[in-house]
Amino acid sequence: MSSAPPVSFFDRPNSYIGRTVPRPNVKKLLQGRGTYVDDITLPRMLHVVFVRSPHAHAKIVSIDRAAAQEMPGVIAVVTGPELAKVITPWVGVLTHMKGLKSAPQHAIAIDRACWQGEAVAAVVAETRAEAEDAAEMVVVEWEELPAVVDMEAALDAGTPVIHPDLGDNLAFRRELVTGDVDGAFAAADHVFEEIFHTGRHTGVCLEPRAVLADYQPAEGKLVAYQATQAPHMIQNLLAKHLNLTESDVRVVCKDVGGSFGIKVHIYPDEMATAALSVLLKRPVKFIADRLESFVTDIHARDHRIKGRIAVKNDGEILAFEIDDRTGIGPYSVYPRTSAVEANQVVNLVGGPYKHKAYRAATEVVFQNKNVTCQYRAVGHPIACAVTEGLVDLAARKLGIDPAEIRRRNLIPDDAYPYTGLAGLPYESLSHHASLEKLLKLMDYDGLRTEQAELRKRGIYRGIGLASFIEVTNPSAAFYGVGGARISSQDGCTIRLDPTGTIICATGVTEQGQGTEAMIAQIAATAVGVTMERVRVITGDTDATPYGGGTWASRGAGIGGEAALQAGKALRQNILTVAAAMLQAAPESLDIRNGTVVDTDTGVERLPLEEIGRVVYFRPDALPKGLQPEFVVTRHYVQKDYPFVFTNGIQGSYLEVDTETGFVTLLKHWCVEDCGTIINPQLVDEQIRGGVVQGLGGALYEQCIYDDRGQLVNGSMIDYLVPMAGEMPDIVVGHVVSPTASSELGAKGAGEAGTAGAPGAVMNAINDALQPLNVSLAAQPFTPESILMALGRVSAKVG
């Protein structure tokens, strides 16, 4: 694995940039001594369980709760209209998503349920078990309504409109035309087409969604212990809809058991839990169980894309065209909306290539299934699979090696800055360097030889490549300009304590990525102390600077830069004091490993604890007029680009058993370019974890609905997540192109693995099956779907 080239400030003693440092904050997790929301117990705490709709679409005729209220331990049974007195509804739209519409959504449904799993009543009891017992006794009389299930039919004349006030089931439409698309298709030697499907799937965080809301009536304050990626966003939303002063809402986010975008939204049942705490004036805990997770955690990726590619005989790509349709459930999710994924697909298709013409259309439609929204690598794996599927389709048809067709068409590494066809600027990408590095890591030629040898023996192995671009370090263009109070800036407050310890409070959050380790490495480097001297505080709106949290691969790029600038400023302030104490010029001094030294000789002059002692306890010894400032805050927002794009490429090597349809993943590779690497191990692990989430979508994961809108595989038994037995070893390599938009130069790495894996696997399967003239384009690629493609099984019955 390559390391970053020297970056001036970091190429100095005491630098932790580019070094693998074991995460300082995980010992508690290794001992089971973390603090997840469900680990917190408060005095007089109650548990809420929701009565959920068994129907995809149904009118609530009546709710009889008499029996439930008599059950042991029950404190309250609350319906939607009652809760609506303390919490206002919301509409999940953003103004910059032009035309996006949605209907008002309540914490608990008022008179109608629009998907199987929507909460229609809340049962609050002293224990979860008692609340479940009582929830069974709530009798809801339903009048079933026709359900809109098939997204393809959602806009048809005969299809019922889910929200009549909206006029139709169209939530959002976007069309984009760049360049002379018709001309390009007319000039092409060949046009190839394919219809791609990406399976609706979900995040399955091992820790379910969790909130413990503690309303303190004397002060009118609400403390929400919540498993979230965005504490300040939650603070804003709870205050807004519960009619509280924002500063009276405190969101505390301790350990989070995985998030992946699932926990970056606010859910109706979470809002309801906070409202119930206000209503009952007691702490109320809601922990989603696994069954309700499957029907309420956001789903994602439910797309059908018709794709076309125009190419010359030599493989030159002239144009891409896509027609996308996605079903998002009955509401656009609050507050980030459910149009972003489709929008990203439009932005990203064709992204790595230098063609000049692109046309895209997407339609985002309502349906009576669970809602969809942003899940890890939003839109990326869809766009990548479509793009790379079309590129490989062209390569197969033209008899060009997949690596070669990419060499001929990827944007040259010296072409930057470059504007992609969706109008988004790319600062500096490294597609060709990444491709060549990947081919070398894979021993691509060796694999091709092995593949050919094995084919003679009837063994079908495939090699798949997938180049991608990745959106990271978003500016205000993502949400802020659309009116959402989701911060794109982030801050870091850093202080020197009397003992020489550095305390950093940051607005970015930790869900296991290693945020706190990353911040500590940067702070230690910037100030000049060892890692052991750094403490990091995250996830508390009372204690951290206002910020956006951790999503869209912004933790290191945004939060890290704020920490760097704060650390440098503190260091300067320390050196000013040290210089006065030593009667030396500040420029001649440096801080290394917690000690002020002479920059040139490295001779130790003053330990930080001595400076701390004087500053905090003997300030009389300092010169008059010198006021040490040992608490410093710096903020950072990325303003140069809408997003700082990164890039990468993945390779998959697998074997298809053409008799059983089973796919065995033999090995997987990813080369990515996230700019400055702060901790190589953490980056590699982000990639690996992301790859496996992508592999899940490619081979296993799908939320299967029947024609009545019932999720038929909503348990861990039936919804197949990737497990260790089937997953391959994953080799990770890096190319480093730091972004000039920050001093740190870090881009994000959280989406890269997920972005490219499904496309690489699809291409590898199709590569394996090429001798049989078979290709597939509908994820997940199941044994049955492969057998059907091979003609060994004709049609699915039952």
């Binding site: 290794l30 997840y36 091992l206 379910p208 058991g257 692990e685 861990m716 038994i717 997540v721 260790a724």
Partner: protein, 162 residues
């Protein structure tokens, strides 16, 4: 609610408690004993997050009733940590970053502990098979396999095992 008195040794401590028949062992550990290191990921026996040791073998705590632990020795992640029994696994998980969010980790460690005891010569494929009932959404498993393989090798070298 029907209550039963049980006598159980948890992490070396002998306890007597009254439990309701329907309470599973993890709810007992978490809610009655505040041993919150055992996690509930699915509560229907699939994810492995609740894996603990009962009478020295790994079991799914959500698939065992607390009342069934009467007379048993239960070791949770807290006990395994304090006794030092899995210190080498914990250290290797730390060094290889074989955990991210940490939610699966106690169960993964309990499973790995049994693996290294019973199968000292397991290769990567056997490690993967053994932990294939423990779901991890964060790591992609590679680092977990690395960490367990490292512990196996280290123990083999130390023990001079053939």
């Amino acid at each position: 609610m029907e209550q039963h008195e049980i006598s159980v040794i948890v992490n070396g401590q002998k306890l007597r408690r009254r439990v309701s028949a329907r309470q599973h062992l993890i709810d007992f550990l978490r809610n009655e004993l505040s041993l919150t290191g055992s996690h509930l990921g699915c509560e229907h026996g699939v994810c492995g997050a609740c894996t603990i040791q009962v009478n020295g073998t790994a079991v799914r705590g959500c698939l065992m009733l607390a009342v069934q632990a009467d007379g048993a020795k239960v070791e949770t992640i807290e006990g395994l940590s304090d006794s030092g029994a899995i210190a080498d696994l914990q250290e290797a998980f730390h060094q290889y970053n074989a955990l991210q969010c940490g939610f699966c980790t106690p169960g993964m460690l309990a499973t790995a502990a049994e693996l290294v005891e019973l199968h000292p010569h397991a290769d990567r494929e056997e490690i993967r098979a053994h932990i294939s009932g423990n779901y991890c959404r964060c790591t992609g498993y590679h680092a977990i396999v690395d960490a367990i393989a490292f512990v196996l090798e280290t123990r083999r070298n130390k023990g001079g095992a053939a």
